[in-house]
């Protein structure tokens, strides 16, 4: 029953509220999807919120999950009640300490959002492969299946660990539970006090390490005793199930909510049973009940306490009538007899049978299956298929459900249209763009319904893989009873499509039930919209008898000052036509929510939202549906016809949102994917794009350099190549000292531009008569789209200039095709221009080791990836190992390449008599220090291949596959500051120290951008970030100075917006240096909180104020008797505050805690001068002083 304790949050918040209150110290590190628990803890601590013992928990961020586990271990040993939150790779890093913590019988509860482990690919989504990798650590493992359960069992786990001394891993499904918003009854402090036995707390404290009563723990033991001592704790494990059971019973008495170690749900005479852990259990329970109402005899056993596994309770929970059992595991263990839960069930049944705990007649058939890996959907249709499998005479074993396995034929078929949705549950689907506020509005909607009506409510949000122009799909349900449906909405009563362009590209009505309401945001009026729909959409509307409404939300948002935020408008439409609440009441509640949500954002935001609500209804219209579909328009194919076969058959299906339908045979077996696929994904997300004014252009190519998406390009080409150009194709004479009689064109890719405006803002060429007009100006897309599409296609066909004779500068570098294009990075991203430039300098021989983070996501997240190839088919080869090991991973690439190059050189030399001495000498002695000499080497390798054909010596055969390694490869480790400054610093330091010819590019955004802006050791003093909610009190680590300390490392700091030529030179010099190089690149980021269109000006300010001094430290200079360090910036001449005042990350603290902000700003200003003076002294020091 809903009462005063009813709340509506996601499980992360529901769990954090318990963990925070039951902890003294909290150690954190960001990892998806657990980060919000850590963020909330940090925020609550900075707000001085108290725990159960009336104290404010301390929250500390560490450099990695390994560090967090170590800090937790220390806390526990010193008698503190500590907690942490993690998932996936983070959990793996904690495993060594988990053994220790368990081996020392230490009360501790950690909360894990169960997530896939990276194997053939990374997945941020949910399954049990991480927690299953911990089942041997000695931790108790407790599984929660819903938001309510995660909240409740968190409390039980904290209490049970104190009582039992066995540490707990409490887990719930990543995203599906951690991010599902649902109604739940919250536990008060009073309830928590009843659950936690203070004597257990004191007992834990008494076991603390203290010099006042010294003990020693963590000894080394020898063969004589280790084994026995390891067995000494057995009784504690034996006792644990009883302890948890008792606590669950107490909990039941206090709250009325009952849990068991193994919860059986179903009739006493059930015959078919599914055993399962996690959110899937909810789906099984609901489906089982539905089937039973139709006459089936099915049941579900929900496993809660997985470790220690109590055979006794397990068999007691299973009705003796059960004949067949399917055990479902949300993980995969290749090569094992079966997955872990399946194996445990088999063992348990066998043991119970052997010991007589089960009757002789009880001998069920047991099969195992895998489901839901990487958050694969697990819905009632799939559950039914599993039950149906059990119904057969010989149920299939080791099956999969939820995919089509057409290779090893493990998969069960299922009914995609099966639905168990109750009639009194209302469901809705909203399809929007990330930037239009759809998700935020739906969170509001669900809060209105969940808290202001008698309904229970649930919401789950699906995002696509792009950081700009991303599609979001919100799945909402509500009804008179708690919602237990952890799967996507299938038969929606309401479908809202908030972006008109989706209607041509996606099957937006796929999830609409018959007679559902369909709301479309469209620029076309009620009178014309029908004819503007694709024929397929018209037919669906007719077939499903949909009620169709249309609104021009962008018109309303423009008129009410909401810009592109149409959230409030679409939310108002939903309430107005869904009939959930009386219209006036709904509008009043929306306004109340606006007041609540936005009042802290200020009056202006509240008022414009009110205006949007008021302006909505007059623009909302119902469309009369004709009897036939008459449209001549068809939905657009996801990719162009010219796309390669794989892109057509696999990528295109994924782009259309139908990736779930692809069978196993469609996929590479080892995670290897083709490059050059982003070119086929034409997203067209910009409302305005730049257009070129040749008469003003000075051909500096700055616009091309700074474009984050390689959507504006330059080419110089012979006049003779201009054949059959489009009528409006623009060009002008190419200005160059080295290259004559060429034309020059700057061309935008209209479908790939994100409209960030960096190109326009950086353009220095202004019309003297009207300085507003530059050589590049933003123009509305629609009128120029077709023209620029044609122009861009033509532009791509023009020949590329060989720039090897040109002096290396911004202009010449930008004449090369970028081999990194159209990524999914944020609009205006500060990182990607550096990567793009790198591919223009060395792309055809570039090997990239990419640390997990933003750059690995926009660099390697499917469906399409941005790395591409040149006209010769060469281009960057890219891989991501882990977050923490990227420098080492790159080091390994270097070792492998060097070995091959050395072997090849040795073989060439050995074959000199047959190849020719001069020929061999030319190859092995080529310094390969310029584009020209590299090109020369390529020609020589081609010639070598020809000569090898005629040589019979077996060494020639050995050389053939290695010959290309004679062309120097450029190995770069790329990653963000979270990697370089924190989790990967040890490895990075090792690689720098190694002296190997390896290059490191740090894209420094000064926070963990990819996981949402958590503080790193690069975060500057005075900035507010997640995990530094009270403002970062210490300065940024000077990574460059540390690296310079080695003396043999090339080090540069760059800021493209401040001095682009220096950036080009630094990357080129780093690449050319035969030793380790470190380039730290200032990367503006949405996490800094300002309009990124101004990002380059802010970079300039960063250098002028001394916030980001740019320099190059070149050991080669030192070797020539010069100071190694060369400052590329002037002495700071602008106060730091001018930089800080532009960014919300600093201004938030200036407002929330002005006194602290002032102290930190003054200290930061002081440090700037100290640092500059230090650099200045290094830049003028004699070389012997450099090292």
């Amino acid at each position: 029953m809903k009462d005063d304790s009813t709340q509506i949050h996601d499980a992360n918040e529901a769990v954090a509220s318990v963990a925070y209150r039951l902890s003294e110290n909290i150690v954190i590190y960001p990892i998806t999807p657990s980060s919000p628990m850590a963020e909330l803890s940090d925020e609550w601590s900075s707000m001085k919120r108290k725990n159960l013992w009336d104290a404010v928990p301390q929250v500390a961020q560490m450099q990695s999950e390994g560090g967090a586990a170590g800090a937790v271990h220390g806390n526990l040993q010193a008698g503190s009640m500590a907690t942490t939150f993690t998932a996936s790779q983070g959990l793996l890093l904690m495993i060594p300490n988990m053994y220790k913590i368990a081996g020392e019988l230490t009360p501790f509860c950690m909360h894990v959002t169960a997530r896939s482990l990276a194997t053939h690919a990374l997945s941020i989504f949910g399954d049990h492969s991480d927690v299953m990798a911990c089942r041997q650590t000695g931790f108790a493992m407790l599984a929660s299946n819903s938001v309510q359960e995660a909240h409740d069992l968190a409390a039980i786990a904290h209490s049970a660990t104190l009582k039992s001394r066995i540490p707990f891993l409490h887990f719930f499904d990543g995203f599906r539970t951690s991010h599902e918003v649902n109604t739940y009854q919250a536990l008060s402090n009073e309830v928590l006090r009843q659950l936690v036995d203070e004597e257990d707390v004191r007992a834990h404290q008494r076991r603390a390490l203290t010099p006042d009563a010294p003990i020693i723990r963590g000894t080394a033991q020898n063969p004589d005793v280790f084994f026995q001592a390891r067995e000494a704790a057995n009784s504690y494990y034996d006792a644990l199930p009883g302890i948890v059971e008792d606590l669950m019973e107490s909990f039941h008495k206090i709250t009325g909510r009952a849990y068991k170690l193994f919860d059986y749900v179903g009739p006493d005479d059930a015959e078919e049973l599914i055993i399962i852990m996690g959110s899937g259990a909810e789906t099984v329970e609901q489906t089982s009940a539905w089937l039973n109402r139709k006459g089936r005899k099915t049941g579900v056993l929900k496993v809660r306490l997985f470790r220690p596994f109590s055979i006794e309770r397990f068999v007691q929970a299973i009705p003796p009538s059960i004949r067949k059992i399917a055990v479902l595991d949300r993980t995969k263990e290749p090569g094992a007899i079966g997955e872990p839960l399946y194996q445990d069930v088999l063992s348990a049944l066998a043991e119970a049978r052997a010991s007589g705990e089960t009757p002789e007649t009880f001998n069920p058939v047991v099969v195992g299956g895998r489901y839901g890996l990487g958050s694969k959907e697990f819905d009632p249709g799939m559950v039914r298929a599993v039950y149906d499998n059990l119904k057969t005479d010989k149920p299939r074993n080791h099956f999969t459900i939820g995919i089509v396995d057409d290779v090893t034929h493990t998969s069960l078929d299922w009914d995609k249209n099966f639905s168990i949705q109750a009639e009194d549950v209302f469901s809705a689907v909203f399809i929007g763009l990330g930037s239009d506020g759809t998700v935020g509005a739906n969170k509001n909607t669900i809060k209105i319904i969940g808290t202001e009506t008698d309904n229970y409510a649930q919401a789950y949000f699906v995002y696509d893989s792009k950081k700009s122009g991303a599609m979001t799909v919100s799945h909402l349900r509500f009804g008179p009873r708690p919602i237990h449906a952890p799967y996507l909405v299938g038969n929606a009563h309401f479908v809202g499509c908030h972006q008109y362009s989706f209607i041509d590209r996606f099957d937006v009505l796929d999830r609409a039930a018959n007679k559902a309401v369909f709301l479309l945001n469209s620029p076309h009026s009620v009178d014309t919209i029908w004819e503007r729909l694709p024929q397929e959409v018209q037919q669906t509307i007719i077939d499903k008898q949909l009620e169709f409404y249309v609104i021009d939300a962008y018109k309303v948002s423009r008129e009410t000052g909401m810009g592109s935020r149409i959230n409030t408008i679409m939310q108002t439409c939903f309430f107005a036509i869904s009939g959930i609440l009386p219209r006036d009441e709904a509008i009043e509640k929306i306004k109340n929510t606006i007041e609540k949500t936005y009042s802290r954002k200020g009056r202006a935001v509240v008022e414009k939202n009110y205006a949007a609500v008021d302006g909505t209804l007059a623009n909302l219209h119902k469309v009369e549906i004709p009897e036939t579909a008459t449209s001549t328009r068809q939905m657009l194919p996801p990719v162009a016809e010219a796309a390669p076969d794989f892109v057509q058959k696999v990528t295109g299906v994924m782009l259309a949102g139908k990736g779930d339908l692809l069978p196993v045979s469609a996929f590479p077996i080892d995670g290897t994917w083709p490059v050059a696929t982003s070119q086929w994904e034409k997203r067209r997300i910009a409302l305005q794009v730049p257009t070129w004014e040749p008469d003003l252009c000075i051909q500096c190519a700055k616009c091309v350099l700074v474009c984050p998406h390689a959507a504006i390009r330059a080419k110089a080409y012979p006049e003779s190549s201009m054949v059959a150009s489009p009528e409006d194709f623009l060009s002008k004479e190419f200005r160059s000292r080295e290259v004559k009689e060429h034309l020059y064109t700057i061309q935008v890719a209209p479908d790939d531009c994100t409209g960030c405006q960096l190109c326009v803002n950086v353009c220095p060429a202004k019309d003297r008569k009207s300085p507003n007009r530059k050589a590049i100006n933003m123009t509305d897309l629609d009128p120029v789209l077709e023209r620029e599409q044609k122009n861009y296609d033509y532009f791509l066909e023009l020949p590329e200039l060989d720039n090897s004779e040109m002096r290396l500068d911004v202009k010449s570098s930008q004449l090369k095709k970028p081999l990194f294009e159209y990524s999914g990075a944020c609009s205006g991203c500060g990182e990607t221009p550096y990567i793009k430039l790198l591919t223009q300098l060395v792309g055809d021989r570039l090997m990239i080791a990419n640390a997990t983070g933003c750059s690995s996501i926009y660099g390697g997240n499917l469906p399409t990836t941005p790395y591409t190839v040149d006209a010769n088919g060469r281009g960057p080869t890219w891989s991501n190992s882990l977050f923490e090991d990227n420098a080492e991973f790159g080091f390994g690439l270097r070792m492998a390449v060097d070995y091959k190059a050395n072997t090849a050189a040795g073989l060439v030399t050995a074959l000199a008599s047959e190849l020719g001495d001069d020929f061999v000498q030319a190859i092995v002695a080529n310094p390969q220090d310029s584009q020209k000499s590299i090109d020369q080497q390529r020609q020589q390798v081609l010639a070598l291949r020809e000569r090898l054909k005629g040589i019979k010596d077996p060494r020639a055969r050995m050389l053939e596959p290695l010959a290309d390694y004679l062309v120097r490869k450029s190995v770069w480790c790329i990653g963000g500051d979270g990697w370089a400054y924190d989790i990967g610093f040890g490895g990075l330091d090792q690689v720098l120290a190694s002296g190997q010819n390896i290059n490191i590019l740090v894209l420094d955004t000064e926070v963990y951008s990819n996981t949402g802006g958590q503080s790193s050791k690069s975060t500057p003093m005075g900035a507010v970030a997640k995990f530094a909610a009270g403002g970062k009190a210490r300065g940024k680590k000077d990574l460059g100075l540390i690296a310079m300390g080695y003396g043999h490392v090339y080090v540069a700091t760059v800021a493209m917006g401040a001095k682009d030529l220096q950036t080009v030179q630094a990357l080129a010099e780093a690449e050319a240096y035969d030793g380790p190089s470190l380039v730290i690149a200032y990367s503006h980021c949405v996490a800094h909180g300002y309009d990124l269109a101004q990002g380059l000006d802010q970079q300039k300010l960063a250098v002028q104020t001394g916030y980001w001094p740019i320099y190059r430290f070149d050991p080669r200079r030192a070797a020539e008797g010069q100071p190694g360090l060369k400052l590329d910036c002037k002495e700071p001449d602008t106060p730091l505050r001018e930089y800080m005042n532009n960014e919300m990350r600093f201004r938030i603290l200036q407002n929330s805690n002005p006194a602290q902000a002032k102290i930190l700003a003054e200290e930061a200003q002081k440090q700037i001068h100290v640092r500059y003076n230090h650099y200045q002294s290094l830049a003028t020091a004699k070389p012997e002083q450099d090292a």
């Binding site: 963020e39 909330l40 925020e43 991010h179 699906v462 200020g602 201004r1147 938030i1148």
Partner: protein
């Protein structure tokens, strides 16, 4: 001789006319203490700009919240609790703190934009403890061709709504650009204001001829700017029964004396203090006192308005005719040498 420097401004009994005008000096409590130690008669806060608050609100909405809920791993980029201070709280807190540490009157200053912004923030400033309120009436008609009468009408409405809302006395800081300043000031008085401040100094951007862009310029005032103030003080003194404050161009004791003689009840100092430090106020006061002593004025009151339009022996010197006379070629030649073209 014991000269009485006392004056009344906005109903406040001030020991002398030298008050510290709206400036960033109030940002530091240490500076505020120095100002009081230097003997300032009152302190005027810098303006609370509603427009700035609104812009910050919208910026935060756009740059902090605009990126939320777009990507599964990063549904936000800032701590949920961290909102930019989107209300006047910081400003109000500053008034409270200043009131705690000083005994001189503290006058709030407000530049509103929306009707409710003017009245609500005025009320907030009063609640925070301000002894009076200066309304910084600043309009930017450049972008909209509004009828001037409409602009004046709207301004008077604002003054009236604020005066109706608060109990503390209200002054209105004006620009000199009114077709009929006396007429407008009369309406201001009729709306309930107790004083006017002459004049606001506007932000006037400069032009960078190389980069072809406008650049912000911040220049301190100079004594030459005082002449405009003196002229209108002198005219208004006789026509309107309202307190007058001179703001802009007061740098020397003579400037102070001229302002008071023209009719100022208080004289606001900013640029000269920024240049010379808070102690300069004390020096000005002493020199003012000495001048009055030397010239045997028993009180400041005796001098106040003595050079107003009506009192001055040659009132036409204040009017337009004077302009013609000064600009004769002969006069220019006398002052600047022969005209060369």
């Amino acid at each position: 001789m014991n000269v009485d420097l006392k004056t009344q401004y906005l109903g406040l009994n001030l020991p002398h006319p030298l008050v510290v005008g709206a400036s960033p000096l109030v940002d530091s409590l240490d500076r505020v203490r120095e100002i009081e130690d230097a003997g300032a008669a009152a302190l005027i806060m810098h303006s609370l700009f509603e427009e700035q608050i609104l812009m910050d609100e919208l910026a935060e909405d756009s740059y902090v919240h605009g990126h939320e809920e777009t990507f599964a791993e990063a549904t936000s980029y800032f701590p949920a609790s961290s909102t930019f201070a989107l209300n006047p709280e910081t400003y109000l807190e500053r008034i409270r703190k200043i009131k705690e540490i000083v005994s001189m009157p503290v006058i709030g200053s407000l530049n509103g934009r929306t009707p409710s912004g003017w009245t609500d923030y005025a009320s907030d400033i009063e609640s925070a403890g301000a002894d009076a309120l200066e309304l910084n009436l600043y309009f930017q008609p450049a972008l909209h061709a509004d009828h001037p009468a409409k602009i004046e009408e709207d301004a008077i409405k604002i003054v009236k709504s604020v005066c109706d809302r608060v109990q503390i006395p209200v002054a209105v800081k004006l620009s000199p650009y009114f077709t009929s300043l006396p007429h407008f000031v009369k309406q201001v008085a009729g709306a309930g204001a107790k004083g006017v401040v002459l004049f606001n100094r506007f932000y006037q951007p400069d032009i960078d001829i190389e980069e072809l862009k406008t650049v912000p310029q911040l220049k301190l005032s100079e004594s030459s700017e005082l002449l405009l103030r003196l002229r209108w003080l002198a005219i208004l003194k006789d026509q309107v029964s309202i307190d007058l404050s001179c703001s802009g161009g007061v740098h020397t004791p003579v400037d102070v004396i001229k302002a008071v003689m023209s009719g100022a009840d208080s004289v606001q100092l900013v640029s000269c203090l920024l240049k010379n430090g808070a102690g300069y106020l004390s020096a000005l006061r002493t020199q003012l006192l000495h001048w009055l002593e030397e010239h045997e004025y028993p009180s400041l009151q005796e001098m106040k308005g003595s050079m107003s339009y009506r009192n001055t022996p040659n009132p036409d010197a204040i009017e337009r005719a004077n302009y013609v006379k000064i600009l004769t070629a002969a006069q220019i030649q006398d002052r600047f040498g022969p005209v060369k073209w």
